[in-house]
């Protein structure tokens, strides 16, 4: 299982703060994202377009490999400061 977190617009559109899901095949973030987008219209909308990804709290790209118990996050470009 991996934990998936959503933030800001992505969280609001997904309608959920976080969820757990079994490790995708292949075990990459790109595969996880595709799997989530197929799961519901809300997740499909939430994960479309310019969405950033973090793996165990570090920014990453779609190639990043996942392991059991990892934490993944999806969020829009940041706007702090």
């Amino acid at each position: 299982m991996v934990t998936v977190k959503f933030f800001a617009q992505v969280r609001e559109i997904a309608g959920v703060d976080s969820l757990t899901i079994s490790l995708p095949q292949p075990p990459t973030i790109a595969a996880l994202r595709t799997q989530l987008m197929r799961q519901s219209a809300a997740l499909n909308d939430a994960l479309q377009g310019n969405v950033l990804m973090a793996h165990n709290q570090t920014l990453c790209n779609g190639e990043t490999k996942l392991n059991e118990h990892d934490e993944v996050a999806f969020f829009p470009p940041v706007t702090g400061g």
């Binding site: 977190k5 933030f7 800001a8 617009q9 969280r11 973090a54 709290q57 570090t58 920014l59 996050a73 969020f75 829009p76 470009p77 940041v78 706007t79 702090g80 400061g81």
Partner: protein, 161 residues
Amino acid sequence: MVFARVQTNDFSQQALYDELCGGAVSQGAGAIVTFTGLVRDFNAQGGIQGIELEYYPGMTESALNALLTQASQRFDIVDAGIIHRVGKLANHAQIVWVGTASQHREQAFLAATFIMDMLKQSVPIWKKEWQGDQATWVVAKTNDDKAAMRWLSENQDNACD
């Protein structure tokens, strides 16, 4: 030495200045630069009534600390700190404070500019603006990307050469 905090409560300019200088003067610091970001009372659409900031507990603090480490490696500074507020903030409230201490003023200015440019592009914090009872997420600015890219495309420590 360096310090980074995410908090809902307000911060004191004097207290943060004193915290930054505490160790810095004994290390030869002669130049202190601070940046403070405030909530503006308008956006491109008109007046706003405050903002609300969301963050990623754990990752946000790590990203701020990583940014201070980067700044310390890249610039000749002896200390630096970042405070970022989250939650609901009224118009004119303090949002963010960055302070740098160096032996040389140019390095203190560059390090503070670098930290703010990179923070706006790489630290997971998101802002929504309130207009009446509607809150709208702020869209990331191309200008902020450009400001950060300037540092990434350089091999030099100095943005101006």
